[in-house]
């Protein structure tokens, strides 16, 4: 159970949100043309679902190691330096995530106090800004998880370490793991 939660927590929300966005936006067109009655709230709710989806996605992409990186330097430096750079880059990422999690929760609290409401549905904007602290806290946990696992297996070759955490132990296949890429 715990394993499933670890693996699919963000994914679960992402799938539901993305699916709902596509359906609700589709309904918007349908209702306007077929039922001749435009839904007023669909655009707004989609935008907010979208924001939450991206913040869950930031965290899930850390787990799957899918964030877009420029790995040019990794193609030319020796193995130990690659590992070192990888750890440094994750620590810098963590620094950003921690700063934004703190800052985001302050922002969220401030908006809650101001009582700002969304234009058409009129619920508190704080529900939307809560995606900042929640998303970045999750991202922070994922980064710490990744760092912990990679540091424990630091003896493995870089090409293995740079994979998603589930695949770290799968041995290399010759020829397919190109130096530096794919990003």
């Amino acid at each position: 159970m715990l394993r499933l939660v670890e693996r699919y927590f963000e994914a679960f929300f992402m799938v539901i949100l993305m699916f709902s966005i596509s359906i609700v936006t589709g309904l918007q067109v349908f209702s306007r043309y077929v039922m001749d009655d435009a839904i007023s709230w669909s655009e707004e709710i989609c935008r907010y679902m979208f924001i939450w989806m991206v913040f869950f996605g930031i965290s899930y992409a850390i787990r799957q190691r899918r964030h877009i990186r420029i790995l040019g330097l990794y193609a030319v430096v020796p193995e130990p330096v690659k590992k070192m750079l990888m750890i440094i880059s994750d620590l810098l990422f963590l620094l950003f995530v921690v700063l934004l999690a703190i800052n985001g929760s302050e922002l969220c609290a401030k908006i809650l106090k101001l009582g700002q409401l969304t234009p058409s549905l009129e619920f508190s904007m704080a529900y939307i800004y809560a995606s900042l602290p929640v998303g970045f806290c999750l991202a922070g946990l994922r980064l710490i998880q990744g760092l912990y696992i990679r540091l424990r297996h630091i003896h493995l070759p870089y090409a293995q370490l740079s994979r998603p955490i589930d695949a770290i132990h799968t041995p290399l296949r010759p020829g397919t793991d190109t130096p530096g890429g794919p990003a």
């Binding site: 949100l17 359906i23 936006t25 907010y48 979208f50 989806m53 193609a75 880059s89 810098l92 990003a183």
Partner: protein, 426 residues
């Protein structure tokens, strides 16, 4: 402050921090050394950047593309291409390129096209006696057409960051994309004649012809619905994308029945993930952009460039070279969000329309997909077709030359991209 903004950004990228996070860290550093804004500027900026209905066209087009390629649509397009082009010299190559062009009219991204078509066509081409380098680099180049022909995620991002009309920019991409495709087809044909790659011997009965076309009808309808809907004023680009997604669900689940309900979450998740990693970059680039504006960086760049020359053609050539270089090393959408606000004032001061420049920028960055040493499509092909990376890098040169030639045509003959826009928009 310029130093901290760009210095920290480049340093972080170099170390391998994700591009979006590098942008964010650069802002944080600039705030800490005393830019006249607070950190809230960045966090709030991330939410504000994403709070945009036009931007939502991007994830929906990504999802639509994934659904179509998994749901059997790409296979029908391939069959159709076989029917139309298979018999000519270099038939398999022509089929592969034509499928990439068709598919570009359905999906919003490039590397996905290259992967979807390459995985089927490269093995066939190798069996047909084509060399590894030729077939691999061909698909990589053809896949790069994806973002030029609408719908295009790259164009959506360009339009959202520069406040341009998505509708017009899509329209401006049609002819350049087709021109690029036709040039690649012509080159394949000429080389195949010379090397003796023959066409397919298969002949079709009248019934088969009819079946193939009939079977492909749901696939062919997609671009018609998307473009027709947008230009008929029926729906906005975002709504068009949602309609394409729903069409994708229906086509995959019920019409072609190649997608099961069980696979659906995986397809949706993969699009959501692609969306998120791209949109982090757009989120943090808002803060970055604001700091650049505060520092008057766009004005300084404009002044710097117009100091060197005031000739429109010279400056456009310089910008093309810059973008080609950037496209090689940097992820496309990141490059768009960072560079478009800097470069747009330069070119508009010369009288280039923002829509035209959008197409120039997208074509440039697409060429970056296939430029060694770091072409994203080359990596994709290496992975799916087991062709050594070095072989691909060596054989991609002629394709690159063609694409750059087309790029300069598009840049200097305004009517190529803008003709349709003028026609439809008066």
């Amino acid at each position: 402050m310029i130093l901290s903004l760009f210095g920290v950004f480049f340093l972080c990228c170099l170390v391998g921090v994700p591009v979006g996070i590098s942008l964010g860290l650069a802002c944080v550093a600039t705030v800490f050394i005393g830019a006249p804004v607070s950190l809230k500027y960045i966090s709030q900026g991330m939410v504000v950047a994403l709070d945009s209905f036009p931007l939502m066209a991007a994830p929906l087009f990504i999802l639509a593309g994934e659904l179509m390629s998994q749901g059997g649509v790409s296979k029908r397009l391939l069959n159709l291409a076989h029917l139309l082009l298979g018999r000519y010299a270099g038939g398999l190559g022509l089929v592969a390129i034509a499928s990439c062009i068709f598919f570009a009219g359905i999906s919003g991204t490039g590397s996905a096209d290259a992967a979807a078509i390459g995985v089927i066509m490269i093995p066939e081409m190798l069996r047909g006696g084509y060399s590894k380098g030729f077939s691999g680099s061909m698909i990589a180049a053809a896949g790069a057409i994806g973002p030029i022909i609408p719908p295009s995620v790259t164009m959506v991002v360009y339009c959202v960051t520069t406040n341009q009309s998505i509708t017009d920019t899509f329209l401006a991409g049609v002819v350049p994309g087709i021109l690029m495709g036709v040039s690649l087809l012509a080159y394949t044909f000429i080389i195949s004649k010379r090397k003796g790659y023959r066409g397919e011997a298969k002949t079709y009965t009248r019934k088969e012809v009819f079946d193939i076309i009939w079977d492909a009808k749901w696939a062919i309808l997609v671009p018609v619905i998307i473009m027709g809907g947008i230009y008929g004023g029926i729906f906005t680009p975002t709504e068009a994308a949602a309609v394409a997604v729903i069409y994708g669900y229906i086509a995959g689940l019920f019409l072609y029945k190649e997608l099961t309900f069980k696979q659906l979450p995986r397809v949706i998740l993969s699009s959501a993930l692609i969306t998120s990693v791209v949109l982090v970059i757009i989120g943090t680039s808002i803060g970055f952009g604001r700091l650049m504006t505060l520092e008057h960086i766009p004005q300084q760049v404009t002044a710097f460039i117009t100091d060197i020359s005031t000739n429109k053609y010279v400056i456009l050539a310089m910008i093309n070279l810059l973008l080609l270089l950037v496209g090689t090393f940097m992820e496309t959408l990141a490059a768009v969000t960072i560079l478009a606000p800097i470069l747009l004032p330069v070119v508009t001061s010369l009288g280039v329309s923002p829509v035209h420049f959008g197409v120039i920028m997208v074509v440039n960055l697409c060429i970056g997909f296939v430029t060694p040493p770091l072409g994203a499509n080359l990596f994709v092909i290496t992975q799916i077709a087991d062709i050594p990376y070095g072989t691909l890098c060596r054989s991609v040169a002629p394709w690159l030359a063609i694409m750059v030639a087309v790029l300069f045509l598009i840049t200097y003959i305004e009517a190529i991209p803008m003709g349709l826009v003028w026609l439809f928009r008066g």
